[in-house]
Amino acid sequence: MISFNSLTKRYGKQAAVNALTAEIRSGAITGFLGPNGAGKSTALRCLLGLASPTAGTALIHGAPYSQLAEPLKEVGAVLDSRGFHTGLTALQNLKVITAAAGLPDSRALEVLEIVELSDSAHKRTKGFSLGMKQRLALAAALLGDPQIMVLDEPANGLDPIGIAWLRSFLRKLADEGRTILVSSHQLAEMEHTVDDIIIINHGEMVVAGPIKEIVGQGTLEEAFLRLTLEAKAVAK
C-alpha cells in the first residue's frame, strides 16, 4: 500500500509538490497524471527515497522506502532518469543489482526473458534503442518479484507497438495481483489501461478516484481540462 500524506517538496521558493495527500488502492493500476512539470516525478522520487520531502511523508506499507528491509522484493521502480551503464551488457547491469539485493543471478536471465530481451542479454546497453532501454528498466524493476510497481512515464519515447506491448504488460502484472502506480503526461495513453487515477497540477491534487466515475461519458482529456479549470476558478 502506498500513501502520500501532505507531501510537500520545495525547490527554493517553488513548490514542485504541494501538500499532496492520496492513497493508492492495492491490486489495481493507478494512473498518476498531470501535465509537464506537475510534480509527478518529484512525488515519485520522494516515495522512493531518492529525494527527501520538505514536509509530509510518502509511505509504502506505512514506512518510508529507506526503512524497507528488502526494498527490491517489495517495490519495483522504473524512473525516467534511471540509467544503465553503457559499457556493461544488459545482463551485467542486472547482475550488479541482483548482487546488491541478494537475489540469485538466475533471476536476471528470467526477467530478460519476461520482457523479451533475452537475445540482447550479452549486448552492451550503449547501442540499445529507447524501447530496449525501457524494457531493460522494466526487467530491473521485476528482479525482486515485487508486489508494488512504480513507473514514471514508462511509455515515454515508445512507438505505438511498444506502447501496446507496455499496456498489455502492465495489465498482466496487475492481473497477477500487483499494485501499480504509473505516471504519464499523455492522458490518452493511459485511458484504457488504468483503473484509478490521480490527477495533479502545479504540484497539487486535482482529483482522485476510479477513472469511470471521474471521466463519466467524455474522455479523460475533457475531464482533465474541466477539472483543472474548476480548480483554478475555486482558487480564485
Partner: protein
Amino acid sequence: MKLFKSEFRKLIYSRTTYGLLLAAIGLASLTSGVLPYVFSKQLNPMGTSALTQQAVVDTVYGKAAGAYLFAIILGVILMAGEFRQGTAVATFLAAPKRGHVFLAKVSIAALAGAVLQLIASGIAMVVAHTALGFYPEAVAPSDTAYLDTILASVISGAVLAVVGVAVGTLIRNQMLGTLVAILWLNLIEPIMILVFPDGAKWWATGAISGILNLHVSVGRNGVTTANYLEPWQASLLLLGYGAVISLISFATTLRRDVD
C-alpha cells in the same frame, strides 16, 4: 556483504578499470625505465654518474609507485560515474541506506586502488631493474628500497582511491572530479611544495615520498627529503586525510537528492 559484491561487480565489469590499470602500468614503467638514462647523464661533483649514489637508485625504484594518480581517478569514476551513467538511481533503490553504499564503495575502491598500484609498481620495478642493468656504474639499491616502494604504492593506491570516491561524492560530475584530482596532484601540490618547501611533508604527495623513505639530501633543484615524515607517520597522515575527506563528503553531500 551484498553491497560489496555489487560494487565489486561494477569494478570488474567496467572496461574503464582495465584502461586505468594499463595507464598506471605504462606511466610507472615509463618513468622507471627512462630515469636511469636521465640520471646517468647527471654527473656528481667528482665527475661520476649520479647512479653511483644509492639514494638516486632508490629514487628510480621509488618512482615505480608514482602512478597513484590513476587510483584517485578510479575512485572518482566509481562514484561520479554512477551519476553520469544514471546508475545511482538503481544503486540507491536497491540499497536506500546510502551510508552502506558509501562504505562498500570506499572499501572496494581501496582494494582496487591498492591492487592497481601493486601491479603497476611491481612491473615498473622489474623495468627499473632491467634499465639499471644497462649502467654498470649503478650501485645496488638500499635493503629496504623494494619494500618501501611496495608499501608506498599500496598505501597511496588505497588511500587515493578512497579520496577519489569522496571527491566523486562531493563533485558528482565525473569530468570535473577527475580534473580536480589531476590538477591537485600535478599542479597545486607541486606549486605549494615549491613555494613552501618546508611544508612539503604535509601534502599528499609529500606524505607518499615520506613513505618511500628516500634519503635525497641535496638534489639538483634543492629538493631535500631530510625533513619528510617517517614512513609510519606519513602513512598515518595519508590514511587520516582519506578518512577526513570521506567523512566530509559522507556528511555533507551523500544525502543530497538524486535526480
